[in-house]
């Protein structure tokens, strides 16, 4: 049964008439063309579909759109407009953290989720923070280096 569901997407109020049980990832990709949200495993293990839900990292494949009435959703496409993103982007680029790029939107959001709570993370903190994000290319070390570099350059201003 279709319902009207309102939520905030990337700073704008949006409304959609759809089944409340649809996965948020499908709504974002198919109805709002947010193709920066990737589908990997579809069961919350790979982190490719990561978004911020009310400012917290979440897997959009595990969220029924009916459960987010009135809440805010932010994708990496919107986060891209912030100074914090640019620090992470440059650090990932310099450290070689990106190869095929499929995990990158999720990795960037997971990195930011860590850095805004912990401005000076050690390696264990970083590995824990990205533990829900799978990467099949880099072997992770270069992503860890990218987050370390971002932390250093961000210098606490998250």
């Amino acid at each position: 049964m279709n319902e009207t569901i309102q939520f905030e997407l990337n700073g704008e109020n949006v409304s959609i008439k759809t089944s409340p049980m649809r996965r948020l990832i499908d709504v974002l990709r198919d109805d709002f063309s947010a193709t920066c949200v990737k589908e990997g495993c579809g069961e919350g293990e790979c982190g490719a579909c990561s978004i911020f839900l009310n400012g917290k990292l979440a897997n959009s494949c595990l969220v029924a759109v009916g459960s987010i009435k009135g809440m805010s959703v932010e994708t990496v496409a919107h986060f891209q407009t912030t100074p914090a993103y640019r620090v992470i982007e440059q650090a990932f680029s310099d450290a070689g953290s990106v190869q095929c790029g499929f995990c990158t939107p999720g990795m960037v959001l997971a990195a930011y989720a860590l850095l805004k709570e912990n401005v000076d993370p050690d390696e264990t903190d970083i590995r824990e923070a990205i533990s829900g994000n799978l990467c099949r290319c880099t072997g992770y070390n270069m992503i860890v280096d990218g987050v370390k570099l971002a932390a250093k350059r961000g210098n606490g201003k998250w």
Binding site: M1, N2, E3, S19, P20, M21, R22, R23, D26, D30, E39, G42, E43, G44, E45, G47, S50, L53, K56, L57, A58, N59, C61, L62, V63, A64, G66, S67, K69, A110, A113, E128, A129, S131, G132, N133
Partner: protein, 281 residues
């Protein structure tokens, strides 16, 4: 396609629950996987769904002098961050899934899902936790251990909601939590162990041990713990072989895609032995 309910208060949710058979949806991390049908397809929920994850009455943590009341829809990450959370519970919650899962998944969901491998369950068992089950006609308090009838089966009636989890932090000199999984994150437990131990004046004055994922429901036996309680610490090593034999009868694991029965049993017994003996010396 099913309809959904969006109650704004607990009272409203209980009212809906009393009139309609529906699936309470807290964080969704188990339900969305269980009913998933694939990319682009609406998950195949077979009953109406009631979204309760944001109800203010059941998303709070209260702590006073070691007495905890945790709302059923409190996500794991709130428990990890709460400054008074018991360390043993914090550890269990921080090892569930990964950060993004911990932001969605809830304690009440872990309990009502009633998986034998639910990671908070052995911890709540050694905390002697009790549960508040509410319906429009009233509420009842049941112990965590009595709540489980088998894998996926609980005492919860179709008109009830689990609303709150209570426990009192015990006095202890040692606590232990171990999760054995295939990898450190995003792994379902092969075995989960939780224990408390209190040593006073050379005597073992309290021992609590619980294991998850090694039997249809959580393994905890006050009877076996009583064999150690009150014993001089120096005698414990001698009592261990008999005690472990008795635990071996309670630990009835299965072989599944995650682990095999023999491994689960062997490691469970070693976890008990290590915890009690290590903390004894």
């Amino acid at each position: 396609m099913v309809r959904s309910y969006h109650p704004e208060t607990l009272e409203e949710a209980l009212e809906i629950r009393s009139k309609t058979r529906c699936i309470p949806y807290a964080g969704g991390t188990d339900l969305m996987v269980r009913y998933r049908r694939g990319p682009g397809l609406v998950p195949g929920f077979d009953l109406p769904v009631m979204f309760i994850g944001q109800l203010p009455e059941i998303t709070q943590i209260h702590e006073k002098n070691g007495e905890f009341s945790i709302g059923t829809c409190v996500p794991y990450s709130d428990i990890v961050r709460h400054r008074h959370s018991p360390e043993i519970l914090r550890q269990a919650c921080s090892l569930i899934g990964a950060p993004a899962i911990q932001n969605l998944g809830t304690m009440g969901g872990n309990i009502c899902n009633a998986s034998p491998a639910g990671d908070t369950l052995p911890v709540l068992a050694v905390l002697d936790a009790s549960l508040t089950l509410q319906s429009v006609s009233g509420e009842r308090e049941v112990s965590l251990l009595s709540f489980f009838k088998g894998p996926g089966k609980t005492l919860l009636r179709n008109d009830e909601l689990l609303t709150c989890i209570h426990f009192r932090l015990p006095h202890f000199s040692a606590e232990g939590y171990r999760k054995i999984g295939t990898r450190k994150a995003n792994a379902l437990s092969k075995i989960a162990f939780a224990g408390f131990l209190l040593k006073e004046k050379g005597l073992l004055s309290d021992v609590r041990i619980a294991l998850g994922a090694v039997a249809p429901t959580i393994v905890r036996s006050r009877e076996l713990e009583n064999r150690l309680i009150g014993q001089p610490v120096s005698d414990i090593a001698e009592l261990m072989p008999d005690l472990l034999n008795s635990y071996a009868k309670l630990i009835q694991p299965i072989t599944d895609q995650r682990s095999d029965a023999n491994y689960r049993k062997t490691v469970s017994l070693r976890l008990i032995e290590n915890f009690v003996l290590k903390e004894e010396s």
